[in-house]
Symmetry: C2
Subunit: 200 residues, 2 copies
């Protein structure tokens, strides 16, 4: 009846950032919860033989243009980061470590990481930067930094990414609601109709 | 001041079909004309090293699902054609031959071709089928069939496709308005804002 929305995203994905900024407010209007599940697109692409969007000829240069315009469309601060895309294993592990303690705080942390990367051009692939973003929210930076190399946290992250691949997730953002998949920030309108009317 | 919208599409593209059904009405609300320019995605993909969407693992099976749902979203009759995708050289040449005589009729013809392929599962890659669709609109089928092998028509079509590739068009639908590119039926909303407000 009220299944949560599974929300998959990569911290290096602009469209993931756009969706992250909107998804909880959207879901709340229809009394749904959102289960945030960061993943590592690098691992997904390795399995599927895909390439990062910015590296594809023509599509890549259009994509940068589209990212900037879509940020304006969604009303979000955005610039193309100096280093883009990045590996997101540090923020991803950090997220799951925080989530296991406090899901609400983990979402705030994810939004702060996205803001640091896409609005402030800070390289969140660097564990030091991820730690600083966490500290700003009152999270224990030393404990978080240690957790990044903790076997259980590594395992937890790996399992999440494997489960996403297993489920057929191939991009970011990717939302699943009542078994129905929606890929892309530009499918939030179709997802909203689903929340409003059920299957259509 | 009132540049036309350049509207690029392939007759084998479901999202091109969705956009074709909407673009003229949308443009007319802002007193803009639309210049319809069918292309051959096969030729574009050969240059860019892209693959047809349905053939890509995971993305392909999601894509079919998304096409069906997006057709419902746009309120258009649609089924995945038995033969999909197809080469669209016959409908593409036929279109340009008709357009050189009557642009309004050419648009009607394009919409009828899309309907035949995506609503009635008729294989419009077959010149015979393309001819029958034309005949229904009062176009001379024998003259059209002859035109498909006419050197000038072939040349005209090739030039259009080459010019599109030259311009950086890599998908369908692809719209350019005042130099601003929009890729995908899911960018019609952003395109409308451009028509409404100018650069934003």
């Amino acid at each position: 009846m009220t299944n949560p929305i599974d929300f998959y995203f990569d911290f290096s994905s602009p469209y993931g950032y756009f969706a992250a900024a909107k998804i909880d407010t959207l879901a709340a209007r229809y009394a749904r919860r959102v289960n945030w599940r960061p993943l590592l697109l690098g691992a997904v692409f390795k399995v599927n033989g895909q390439q990062p969007l910015p590296t594809i000829p023509l599509k890549g240069s259009y994509a940068k243009h589209d990212m900037l315009r879509s940020a304006r469309w969604f009303g979000l601060p955005f610039k193309i980061p100096t280093k883009f895309p990045i590996g997101t294993i540090a923020p991803c592990r950090a997220f799951y470590w925080v989530q296991d303690q406090d899901d609400t705080l983990a979402k705030k942390f994810a939004l702060a990481l996205y803001h640091a990367y896409f609005a402030e051009d800070r390289d969140i692939s660097n564990p030091e930067v991820t730690g600083n973003v966490a500290a700003k929210l009152g999270i224990d930076k030393a404990a978080l930094t240690a957790a990044l190399n903790d076997t259980a946290v590594k395992e937890r992250t790996k399992n999440e990414v494997d489960a996403a691949i297993e489920r057929g997730v191939f991009g970011s953002p990717y939302m699943v609601i009542d078994g129905e998949p929606f890929w892309g920030a530009d499918r939030l309108d179709q997802l909203e109709r689903w929340l409003d009317k059920g299957p259509w």
